[in-house]
């Protein structure tokens, strides 16, 4: 999933000031799973904004809504009427959702209520961690199913570096050294010989470094 984190309330308050009719718009997929931008967080944030506005004797109305996925035009287009009825939209989706709104509603102010964090997994309730860098050419077959591009602080292909200590990364004792994890996993799978080979230099052109990416599937086009 794409993980998101709601921005600090002060920042949201500052950003939305002056837009009398503000729509707080949730996204029921990734952002809801991140507990940052689902229906429930929309309601909570709307209440907080109403209280803040009332306290500051500020005019205006806070509207609430949510769609299944802000990154899909067919869901976003369902919002035509409510968006037309407001001065600005505070999107609680990831950056992709925010941009879809901006594209579909060219004359409307669209604001981000969340910071988009990373492609990751839920470790446990309330804990998410980064696991994929979206590099466009997966190498997980060679690294025991654990990604050094997303999870090694130095993106080493031939780790672990000299900063791996007691299974942790030198940059933060709370961060696992992914190369230690790769080592342990390959050892368990009896495939340690994979780590004797030098991992070749990566072609980053399939990642962001090749320019903004787009997938076109002719077979799916209508």
């Amino acid at each position: 999933m794409i993980t998101t984190e709601q921005k600090k309330f002060e920042e949201i308050e500052q950003m939305t000031k002056g837009y009398n009719r503000l729509l707080v718009l949730g996204c029921e997929t990734c952002s809801a799973m991140s507990f940052a931008g689902g229906q429930r967080q929309v309601s909570e944030l709307a209440v907080a904004l109403r209280i803040a506005r009332k306290t500051a004797a500020q005019e205006g109305e806070i509207l609430e809504d949510a769609v299944a996925r802000q990154c899909e035009p067919e869901f976003v287009d369902l919002l035509m009427d409510i968006v037309a009825d407001c001065d600005a939209v505070l999107s609680l989706a990831c950056g992709a959702g925010v941009q879809m709104l901006a594209e579909r509603f060219p004359d409307k102010i669209i604001l981000p209520g969340c910071n988009t964090m990373f492609l990751g997994v839920t470790e446990e309730f309330g804990v998410w961690s980064e696991s994929c860098a979206g590099c466009g050419s997966c190498i997980l077959d060679k690294t025991g199913g654990l990604c050094p591009i997303a999870r090694c602080s130095k993106r080493l292909f031939n780790g672990p570096c000299g900063g791996s200590q007691n299974g942790k990364c030198e940059i933060n004792p709370n961060v696992d050294c992914v190369w230690q994890l790769i080592y342990d996993r390959l050892k368990g799978l009896n495939q340690l010989e994979k780590l004797e080979e030098i991992f070749p230099i990566k072609d980053w052109s399939s990642s962001f470094h090749g320019g903004t990416r787009k997938i076109v599937r002719e077979d799916l086009k209508l």
Partner: protein, 305 residues
């Protein structure tokens, strides 16, 4: 000869090499480098010029190397992949060779988080082992990573680092083997305080026959104070500082003298370990002490080759 550097000649002749670290200034003073060069030139075979060490911006390694070179002191240019992509790496190598640099030490670099620009973007286009491969390709095949030809020779003596004290310990000799396979000619290790652990690592290195394929220079750091010993024990990742060393420094009447004595004892012990071909002295902010350490360790005079 791959590079014809002084360091390569000394190691090739089977003599015990001595290198030291020479950190460039946080400013524009050529004298800061030249002073260190003057201080160390008769006691060391080559001087490593660090490359934005600990991710703190300093004068570039290449410039520091040129300043040493101009005064007849042989430099080892340290190069980290944290700050350069493959284009910058290869062009810096061309420039370094044109300016007479012959020794290059390939490193990944301390993470930018530790330095004075923690908001910097880390490059890490290639890793340190791939950097070794890149230099070997440039030297032996006279090719860029793109496959295109380089005009001219790239006579380099390729170095790499090794940390015998990082985890997983049993993988450390394998990682060295990868560096050797990638093309490393010499190795400068992380600072050694825990000699028994280093000796165990060297045993694994010898078991793989790596000591015959690469020259290993054992790293040492003279410790100036008990505070420094404690700091390294508790705060510097990848270092193994035994409690006894900290205690010894704490109990000493003259901490500096004790630091030198400890360093000399470590050099004495590592000299006896099979496969160790030299010592690399990293006297961070205490370069003045290096000549007397080299002297007292019985490593003078330095050979002329």
């Amino acid at each position: 000869m791959k590079s014809g550097s002084n360091l390569e000649k000394i190691l090739a002749s089977g003599q015990f090499a001595v290198t030291a670290e020479c950190g460039p200034p946080k400013g524009v003073s050529a004298k800061a480098i030249q002073r260190k060069g003057d201080l160390l030139k008769f006691h060391c075979d080559a001087l490593n010029v660090t490359d934005n060490q600990t991710a703190i911006v300093r004068m570039s390694s290449l410039s520091g190397c040129v300043l040493l070179q101009q005064m007849g002191v042989e430099p080892v240019m340290q190069m980290v992949v944290r700050d350069r992509n493959r284009l910058a790496i290869q062009s810096d190598i061309l420039g370094a060779v044109a300016l007479g640099i012959r020794n290059v030490l390939c490193l990944s670099g301390d993470h930018q988080k530790f330095g004075n620009h923690p908001g910097a973007k880390g490059v890490y286009d290639i890793d340190s082992i791939q950097l070794i491969q890149t230099l070997k390709l440039m030297r032996d095949e006279k090719k860029f990573l793109s496959g295109e030809d380089i005009s001219g020779e790239i006579p380099l003596f390729i170095g790499a680092a090794a940390n015998p004290f990082a985890d997983p310990f049993e993988f450390r000799a394998v990682r060295l083997a990868k560096k050797v396979k990638a093309g490393a000619d010499f190795i400068q290790t992380q600072a050694i305080f825990d000699v028994p652990k280093f000796a165990r690592w060297m045993e694994m290195v010898r078991d793989r026959g790596l000591d015959k394929k690469v020259h290993i220079l054992a790293g040492v750091i003279p410790v100036k104070s008990v505070g420094m010993a404690r700091y390294m024990k508790n705060n510097v990742s990848g270092l193994s500082v035994p409690k006894e060393l900290v205690d010894r420094m704490a109990d000493a009447k003259d901490a500096k003298e004790e630091g030198v004595n400890t360093c000399l004892e470590i050099i004495e012990q590592i000299k006896e370990i099979d496969g160790v071909h030299g010592v690399h002295i990293m006297a961070v902010a205490w370069e003045d002490i290096v000549p007397s350490i080299v002297d007292k360790a019985g490593l003078m005079p330095r050979p002329i080759v």
